[in-house]
């Protein structure tokens, strides 16, 4: 199997499962308890929190453990607009993950002011448009750091500055699910109040995420209950997942230089082979300001649904961006926002590389793609 769908999820990094195991078994305690087995769990939880805080330039109390990227996005946005700040508006962009866009749609249905900013043909947001969209009723601005479908990197520091120029009180959130482990993330440098991270995208467990919440930020919880996480996220802690998340985060950050060099080279090599072999190939991933490991291409006259099936049967795992529950490929809202027609979007395929990717795999997969495409032509 050649796995080129790392943006969907990536294999767990070595040692993570082993680090988690004790907290699923003998150290099973509820960290909120008052006895020894709970103290051991609580200690591991707080170690994990400190480590993650350190990796993004935060302090430990600013780290909220959640069930993943979707929950973190929901909490950031719903929490901000409902926080009784006197402002309840959301400004976000057309290329966000569904966790943000569907939350925006939900809020709109309940009467919250929502503005969706468009993007250019590289899926890039113009900071001036953020400034224009933010007004006195805006509570939070949400712009994703690296787009999951195209790998477009946004200048988040510029987005924060643009938002705060228009309204200094506005909170700025970024979904960094695709960025952590590849891009440099320091919440102060980026001027962020809220930041979403998902563990399984960098080799941690699924069902585990982080929301960074800047100290002093008022946030109405989405999950009400026992008041864990300083009341910001109730529910008994999944200590094993928190430990796994921190362990993987450490490994991913240590491995980050390789994404800027080796992994990027593997992706570029794959791209070069496709570009040479398919003269009319369109690269949807922008040339400038691209991530190290995404590649989204349109192969005219080749339906992505068919290509992905045939690649699957040859052991190559790729994707067409987002998939609905039934598993049918849907037309990507990101590619549409970039101006691609629905037909062009149906001819677009995403290959994403990760910490296990090798040049040999890239060559073999590219060869298989070229072979299949030549048979369709």
């Amino acid at each position: 199997m050649i796995y080129l769908d790392h943006a969907a999820t990536t294999p767990m990094r070595p040692g993570v499962w082993e680090a988690m195991a004790p907290y699923a078994a003998e150290a099973f305690g509820n960290p909120s308890g008052v006895h020894g087995v709970s103290r051991r769990a609580k200690n591991a939880l707080e170690d994990a929190r400190e480590l993650i805080a350190e990796l993004i330039g935060a302090n430990p109390l600013e780290i909220v453990f959640t069930s993943g990227g979707t929950e973190s996005d929901n909490l950031a946005i719903k929490g901000a607009v409902q926080a009784n700040s006197g402002r309840n508006g959301l400004v976000t962009t057309a290329i966000e993950h569904e966790a943000v866009l569907e939350t925006a749609d939900f809020l709109k249905r309940f009467g919250f002011p929502v503005t969706i900013v468009g993007v250019d043909e590289s899926a890039r947001v113009d900071p001036d448009e953020i400034t224009d969209a933010v007004n006195e009723e805006t509570a939070v601005v949400s712009v994703m750091m690296v787009n999951n479908e195209t790998g477009t990197v946004q200048d988040i520091a510029a987005m924060s500055a643009a938002a705060k120029t228009a309204n200094p009180d506005v909170l700025v959130h970024s979904d960094a699910v695709q960025a952590f482990g590849c891009e440099s993330i320091d919440v102060d440098d980026l001027g962020l109040d809220l930041l979403t991270i998902s563990a399984h995208k960098f080799g941690g467990p699924k069902g585990s995420g982080i929301l960074y919440v800047r100290e002093g930020t008022a946030l109405e919880p989405v999950l009400h209950g026992g008041g864990q996480e300083l009341g910001r996220r109730s529910g008994t802690h999944d200590v094993a997942s928190a430990v796994g998340t921190a362990t993987a985060a450490r490994l991913a950050m240590d491995d980050r230089p390789r994404f800027a060099t080796e992994i990027r080279e593997v992706r570029d090599r794959f791209e070069a082979t496709l570009t040479t072999g398919i003269p009319d190939l369109q690269v949807n991933t922008p040339t400038e300001g691209r991530s190290s490991h995404h590649l989204n291409v349109r192969i005219p006259a080749v339906r992505n649904e068919t290509l992905l099936m045939l690649l699957d049967q040859r052991g190559v795992c790729a994707s067409a961006g987002s998939a609905c529950q039934s598993g049918a490929a849907t037309v990507s809202h990101v590619l549409e926002a970039m101006g691609l027609s629905p037909d062009a979007a149906r001819e677009s395929v995403r290959f994403t590389f990760g910490w296990t990717s090798t040049a040999g795999e890239a060559d073999e997969a590219a060869g298989l793609v070229l072979d299949l495409v030549s048979r369709f032509r």
Binding site: R303, E305, T306, M309, L310, D312, Q313, C324, Q325, S326, G327, A328, A329, T330, F376
Partner: protein
């Protein structure tokens, strides 16, 4: 693979016979927010059943998006047919347009030799010609809905469960411990769901509800109605017409939005005019045939001349839009749409 027992067993029989099999489910319909239907024949849980059966058989499984084909070819036509006073059969159109045209065209792309479905029909080849036959289980026979298939489709399709009775199909499924073995059959039109089709039309095409008059066979106005789609030929109840003897819908005129009612005798149909006449072997012609105009009706003797089919005996309550299939014993000769009746 619809997620029903028939297509599950079809896949299993092909796998058992040593073929390289892949399972596909067609995504045909979704709501305004892209959600799959929860009732009818293409629900999320049906797709999950299909996926689980494919996993049990250890074959690759994919969901193919044919929602555009279905919307353009089946649903819009369904609405247009009702709006013009016809009685469409969307399942026939779905088979003809989506499964046996659009999907079949993709076989080469998928590197597949044949399409296999769970329909209860059989095929036989003799002298290089493919014949379509009723399924072994006459009670479950689906040859009527496939009567418009031709050599192009039949030569690339296999129907393994047509050789079995439904009871045998269930026995095979149960023997393999399949989750679909005792699954209830879905009778609803998938995109209509458990509402009746009028509710569907009211929600999706309110423009087809334009009021009009109810007249008797002499043309005298006897009442009014809120839209012709509320009526089907042969309907007796809910006509909103108070007269002494039972009255039935005889005809529906979409052009003038008029519903014609009359006594039972007026339901008689001596002949029908046909549209889209196709022959399984590509060259049928005039002559005596056995004609079946309902999915589970009995075939009746009739004489075909050009695009006119004259019944040996007068038939009752046939609506334009229905399909008529021609048989010679168990063999399907061809099929056509009924354009009008007289």
């Amino acid at each position: 693979m619809s997620g029903g027992v028939d297509s599950s067993v079809a896949a299993a029989l092909m796998t058992d016979a040593g073929h390289d099999v892949m399972g596909v489910t067609l995504k045909l319909w979704s709501g305004p927010h892209g959600e799959a239907p929860t009732t009818g024949c293409c629900t999320v849980s049906d797709a999950e059943d299909a996926r689980r059966v494919a996993a049990q058989l250890d074959i690759p499984y994919y969901v193919l998006d044919h929602t555009d084909d279905f919307k353009d070819g089946v649903v819009e036509r369904f609405v247009a047919d009702y709006a013009s006073g016809r009685t469409p059969n969307p399942c026939i159109e779905c088979n003809r347009i989506v499964k046996f045209d659009r999907l079949l065209r993709r076989l080469d792309d998928f590197e597949c030799d044949v399409l296999v479905t769970g329909h209860h029909v059989r095929t036989r080849q003799s002298n290089g010609v493919w014949h379509l036959m009723r399924g072994s289980d006459h009670a479950k026979d689906q040859s009527y809905v496939l009567s418009m298939l031709t050599q192009r489709e039949l030569s690339r399709t296999l129907f393994p469960v047509g050789e079995l009775t439904k009871k045998e199909v269930r026995r095979v499924a149960a023997g393999m411990g399949m989750r679909t073995a005792y699954k209830r059959e879905s009778m609803d039109i998938c995109f209509v769901g458990q509402r009746d089709y009028r509710g569907f039309l009211r929600d999706t095409a309110p423009e087809v509800f334009s009021s009009g008059t109810v007249v008797d066979t002499e043309g005298n106005e006897v009442g009014s109605h809120e839209g012709i789609v509320g009526f089907t030929v042969g309907q007796r109840r809910g006509l909103g017409v108070a007269v002494g003897e039972p009255r039935f819908v005889i005809r529906i005129d979409g052009g003038t939005s008029t519903v014609v009612v009359g006594p039972r005798e007026a339901l008689g149909v001596a002949k029908v005019y046909l549209d889209q006449l196709t022959w399984t072997d590509g060259h049928g012609g005039d002559g005596q045939v056995m004609a079946q105009y309902r999915a589970h009706g009995e075939p009746v003797p009739a004489h075909l001349q050009g695009d006119t089919l004259v019944f040996d005996e007068v038939q009752e309550a046939i609506a334009p839009g229905q399909t008529v299939a021609f048989y010679d014993g168990d063999i399907v000769l061809g099929g056509a749409l009924i354009a009008s009746t007289s």
